[in-house]
């Protein structure tokens, strides 16, 4: 094991063969290690914890672009949608929001959640060409899904805003612009993808302040019961009970598509 990217055995072998002083060989190996880190765009060797979560979407994208996906994944609309975005990018990054920064309000049949994503790890030379916010709709939590399918009770409108200025007080609205919107019906478990490219472009290339995104879920019809149902259906926050296993894979995900100017874009690899 090594604390760096060069395995300990390799370090030892170089030290024995190079015939240099330990300081000299350390310096040469240090320079080589910098090249390796630079190649991967890293500042130091990653040491992820056992609890690190790999979003299933990123694994699906990997298999899709590596050409390992079977036909069923080949027909996956999410993969197809991302294929266009990825066709101009060579780097796809995923971000979970900072949960401690969440602000939740639930007023007048609307649930609004603010999400802050720390995107400072995107290097300055990387041009973010597009970005999507992915939100999970959990069909399994909807008890009245069948009934909702034939009425307006199971309808929700999801609005995604970029926050320009947070609300100065609890009674005031933040200054925000609408980025994307969609009308959804309860009944099935599905990921919804929203285009948040303008916000990411402002935060990265234009150097604008990142005050986060707001996700507003309007519960159309159904009163207080519909509101509660909708809040569980559109997974914008962690539930209070029994959610530790599912939340890591169901929580909102920000995915950025960028190009660092080196090499070609990600393209689906066809099997020979």
């Amino acid at each position: 094991r090594s604390t760096g990217l060069i395995p300990e055995a390799g370090r030892r072998k170089y030290g024995e063969m190079a015939g240099q002083s330990p300081e000299q060989s350390d310096r040469f190996l240090g320079e080589f290690e910098l090249r390796l880190l630079n190649m991967f765009g890293l500042k130091r060797r990653p040491t992820p914890s056992k609890l690190a979560v790999i979003p299933q979407y990123m694994l699906d994208l990997y298999h899709w672009h590596a050409g390992n996906a079977d036909q069923s994944l080949g027909g996956n609309s999410a993969a197809k949608r991302s294929d266009f975005a990825a066709s101009r990018a060579n780097t796809i990054r995923s971000f979970h929001h900072e949960e401690s920064m969440e602000v939740l309000s639930s007023l007048e049949g609307k649930t609004t959640q603010r999400f802050l994503f720390n995107i400072t790890s995107i290097p300055g030379e990387e041009l973010v060409t597009s970005a999507e916010l992915r939100i999970f709709r959990d069909g399994a939590t909807s008890d009245s899904a069948a009934a909702a399918a034939n009425s307006s009770a199971g309808l929700h409108r999801i609005n995604i805003y970029e926050i320009f200025r947070p609300a100065p007080s609890r009674n005031e609205e933040p200054m925000a612009r609408l980025l994307d919107t969609r009308l959804v019906r309860e009944g099935q478990s599905e990921w919804e993808s929203f285009d948040v490219s303008p916000a990411l472009a402002r935060w990265t290339a234009d150097g604008g302040a990142n005050h986060g995104l707001a996700v507003e879920v309007e519960h159309l019809g159904g009163g207080a019961e519909g509101e509660g149902q909708g809040r569980r259906h559109v997974r914008v926050s962690r539930s209070l009970h029994g959610d530790e296993d599912t939340w890591p894979q169901a929580r909102p995900l920000l995915v950025t598509f960028g190009h660092d100017g080196k090499g070609h874009a990600l393209r689906r690899r066809e099997k020979r």
Binding site: P46, P48, M58, I92, S94
Partner: protein
Amino acid sequence: QARAKPRKKQRANCRRHPLYVDFSDVGWNEWIVAPPGYQAFYCHGECPFPLADHLNSTNHAIVQNLVNSVNTNIPRACCVPTQLSPICLLYLDEYEKVILKNYQDMVVEGCGCR
């Protein structure tokens, strides 16, 4: 019957050889999620004089080998990758963010004398 003269051992000409890079061998499997390794290949072999067409050589390599045939102080052309292709890596960076990135020139597609 005269014993067969031991043939001078012929060194293989420049060509591509298999090389599987297992990320666990270099201790990178902790942070590279997928793939677990990949077939990188390597180039090895002789670039003999005169260079054959299939050795994918350049004009410079042909002339260098010609000079080597009359002056051994000048080395022969080298067997190197002439065509490379990218691979996709899914990994965790130092901030535990998951990244999918296309890395250029990771797999040898073809070798030649250069």
